[in-house]
Amino acid sequence: MILEGTHINKYFYDPDKHQVLKDNSLQISEGELVSIYGESGSGKSTLLYILSTLDTDFEGQLFIQGQDIKKLDSTALTDFRNKHIGFVYQFHYLLPEFNVLQNVMLPALKLREKSRVAIQQDALALLDEVGIAEYAHRPSYKLSGGQQQRVAIARALINDPTLIIADEPTGNLDQKNTDIVFKLLQNITENRGKTVLIATHNPKIYKNSTRTIEMIDGSIRL
């Protein structure tokens, strides 16, 4: 068991009190490629932020790799995320001040479990895996959207996390790049045995996942 959430409730208070998530429980095991899909406003993004530990303001319990998330203070939580969770967003969110290689290295430089040289080797290997190695020393903003998303995947993998969380990773990509990115995410589960959790609108993705979770009106449809 890599992730276990029990009785997760979430309220928004602005403008009025409104329940976004209604008593959701779910368990995700290692090696799964899980898709969450649902209409806009169904609460799938909200659930994803909670499962990814970015949002800790919820009712219920969340364990990731046996760690009770609510028991970590904000610094410990950041360190936990740094080590155990990789992120991919709809918009790639590379940092434009840094080149491609530096962007991939940033999470590992923070973790500091390896030397700078070793981190650089890891980053180059990952860039090679996502097919961007030749652009390693380019400023990140000079890459196309699809290329940047592949760099973001490399960045998510640099600390060898057990859980990869992707929020509409193909939402902003054309068909060809969508296929490339999804293939990469599939490889992560198949070849590396990682767990991938994707929030998506794209039927092609949720139909090809090992498990799909449908959100309707704040609840997981069973």
Partner: protein, 405 residues
């Protein structure tokens, strides 16, 4: 155990931010530099002027002057011999000897006189001094332009002249002047020394002769008119009040009374220095605050990403704060250097003075503590200016940013 925020990675990110905004970083640094430079130059110059005036005026004049009060009823006096001799001199001496704050004191007999040379007749204020006592009060050797100091007065028929007076009398050391007192007596005196305090009001009128000579000429054997007191702590003039309470028929004056304009001038210069420097550093601080604030607003997404990939709030604070610290340090280093350079140039600039002071170049005070203060000023301002935007950056909530797209 949380990892320390000061590490190569955070520094690397901070430097990268600074380098990608070169123009803004340079502008901000220049702002701090300008503030620090102005502070240094102003403090150097203003305190230079203050010190110069202090040195010239206060070292040339005593801290407290004790004189006799003219008594109300007009005594019948011989024409021209009206000096107000001080009574109870021994008691006052005894009192001064026992005061903790008194550093030294000396007797004087002061009288107006006309000085006559071969070419001119000028009024002067004759200070009859006891050379060995007076030497402890006034460091005349440092002020001497030519000739000898107080010791030369021991001969009895010599006179020391202020430089402006000597010039107008057209005399040099070795020449003779005739001193004509108000009682009609006169005496030929040899100029044994010419001094300059740098203040025309002093150099124009002051002369020193031996007190004994003056007493004899005035028929005021063993009488004195004033006691000059030098204090250990000049700011504590309580002695003045104590003296006037204990002794009747004396007037007391402290250095603040005698030099009101200079004391006020010093204060005004101090206020000006601090307020202008403070205002400039404030402007520089606001500049940095602005730049960092805008950066934080522009970089909210990046900050959110840094937070999701493992950078904690304190890392973010450090990354932004270190940028303003670097700007502050650079600005302070350049500012103090440029400040020194400008101050140095000013200190070598010839000064065409009016009659009030006589000085060859602008007086500058290169005290190290002002440089340290200017440096700290620059750094502290930037750190304060950078703190709030950095705090703001650390509070960026990744969820709202990512959701906000």
């Amino acid at each position: 155990m949380p990892k320390p925020v000061l590490n190569t990675t955070n520094l690397f990110i901070a430097f990268q931010y600074l380098l990608t905004r070169k123009k803004q970083s340079i502008l901000a640094t220049l702002g701090v530099m300008l503030g620090v430079t102005t502070f240094i130059v102003m403090v150097n110059f203003m305190t230079g002027v203050n010190d110069f005036l202090d040195d010239a005026v206060f070292n040339g004049s005593p801290d407290i002057i004790v004189g006799a009060t003219p008594d109300g009823k007009k005594k019948k006096q011989n024409f021209g011999t009206a000096i107000h001799a001080l009574a109870k001199v021994e008691e006052i001496d005894h009192f001064l000897e026992n005061d903790q704050n008194v550093s030294s004191f000396a007797h004087q007999i002061i009288s107006p006189a006309i000085l006559i040379s071969t070419t001119a007749q000028l009024p002067g204020s004759i200070n009859g001094v006891f050379p060995l006592e007076e030497r402890k009060m006034v460091d005349l050797d440092r002020r001497l332009l030519s000739g000898k100091g107080f010791k030369s007065l021991l001969q009895g028929h010599t006179i020391l002249l202020g430089v402006s007076l000597a010039k107008r009398l057209e005399v040099v050391v070795g020449d003779e002047v005739n001193m004509l007192l108000s009682n009609g007596k006169n005496m030929k005196l040899e100029v044994s020394g010419i001094f300059s305090f740098g203040i025309t009001t002093i150099d124009n009128v002051r002369t020193y002769v031996s007190a004994k000579t003056l007493q004899k000429l005035m028929h005021q054997e063993n009488k004195i008119t004033n006691i000059h007191v030098k204090l250990k702590n000049r700011d504590d003039v309580a002695l003045k009040t104590v003296l006037s309470e204990n002794f009747k028929a004396i007037t007391t004056q402290d250095w603040k009374d005698s030099n009101k304009t200079i004391v006020i001038g010093n204060k005004v210069r101090d206020i000006l220095t601090w307020s202008v420097s403070f205002a400039l550093l404030l402007v520089a601080g606001f500049g940095i605050y602005n730049i960092l604030n805008i950066t934080v607003i522009q970089k909210r997404k990046d900050i959110a990403v840094l937070k999701t990939i493992g950078y904690a709030a304190r890392d973010i604070v450090f990354i932004f704060l270190i940028q303003s610290i670097i700007i502050g340090l650079l600005g302070a280093v350049f500012g103090t250097s440029l400040g020194y350079l400008i101050s140095y140039i000013i200190s070598t600039t010839p000064l065409d003075t009016s009659d009030f002071i006589i000085v060859e170049t602008y007086p500058i005070n290169f005290k190290l503590s002002y440089y340290i203060l200017g440096f700290l000023f620059g750094v502290i301002t930037t750190v304060l200016a950078g703190y709030f935007p950095s705090k703001k950056a650390s509070r960026v909530d990744p969820v709202t940013i990512i959701r906000g797209i």
